[in-house]
Amino acid sequence: MSQRLINWFKFASPATFYPLAGKLWPWFAALAAAFTLAGLWLGLFVAPTDFQQGEGYRIIFIHVPASWMSMFIYCVMAFWAAMGLVFNTRLSGMMSAALAPTGALFAFLSLWTGALWGKPMWGAWWVWDARLTSELILFFLYLGYIALTSAIDDPRRADKAGAIVSLVGVINVPIIYFSVKWWNTLHQGASVSLTKAPSMATTMLWGMLLMALAFWMYTIAVALCRVRAIILEREGRAQWVAELPEMRT
């Protein structure tokens, strides 16, 4: 029985995961490039002009996928944080640390593209609306995680402290998501939901979904590359590192 099941803890060992990540990331990078090209083509050339916002709405193809990723990456970090605290696996903390900069970048891009969209449509770069404010808090949570973990010298203790921040902060993700329902916001409600038919043209929707897939694949590729760097930084003295083919000179 046990022989037919995959032992997932095998992959929690940096010695196993380092070469696996090296094999996987180019595939995710290639997928990211392919989805980006398809998404940009649909979004910039095929999707029709919006009847209210003209061509200005095309920011949606960046803004919505970046915002989704900023929330999704935080949830993945919280997942790895919980894994690290429960199973005490070294790789979990490294995965969180590898994801945090990408998550922070997407949170920033969500705010940046939101400002560039808000100015022509609302007449303001920024308003203290529930959706915008909670996304800003998410950005600060990422920065807080990065600052806290890099301020603690012992990586294992840094991982534990960071895990607590991710788990406490994850409460902000549903707040962002439901903010447009719970409060009266200037920000519009969800255009896409699992329960209703989407309130947009099919080509617009597909452009957005393709860009979301592209950002997703990009995130996996960059996080795998960064986790390899973190593994070498932390475990560079291990015997298995010395035995890697790439280390022979």
Partner: protein, 60 residues
Amino acid sequence: MNWASASDFFAMGGYGLYVWGSFGLTFAALAVEAALAAGRLKTARRRVRRELAADLDTQD
């Protein structure tokens, strides 16, 4: 096709600054981040190689 000409495309119906400001910064930032991650791996790998070489020297 939505665009009559290239300048029409870049003007984005008067929203050019906002649309290209969003797309431009996003792809620039993603490219920089990917380069930083690759550079970090390169640096870490070089450091390990240097330390391994130093270990060999002390063994001789």
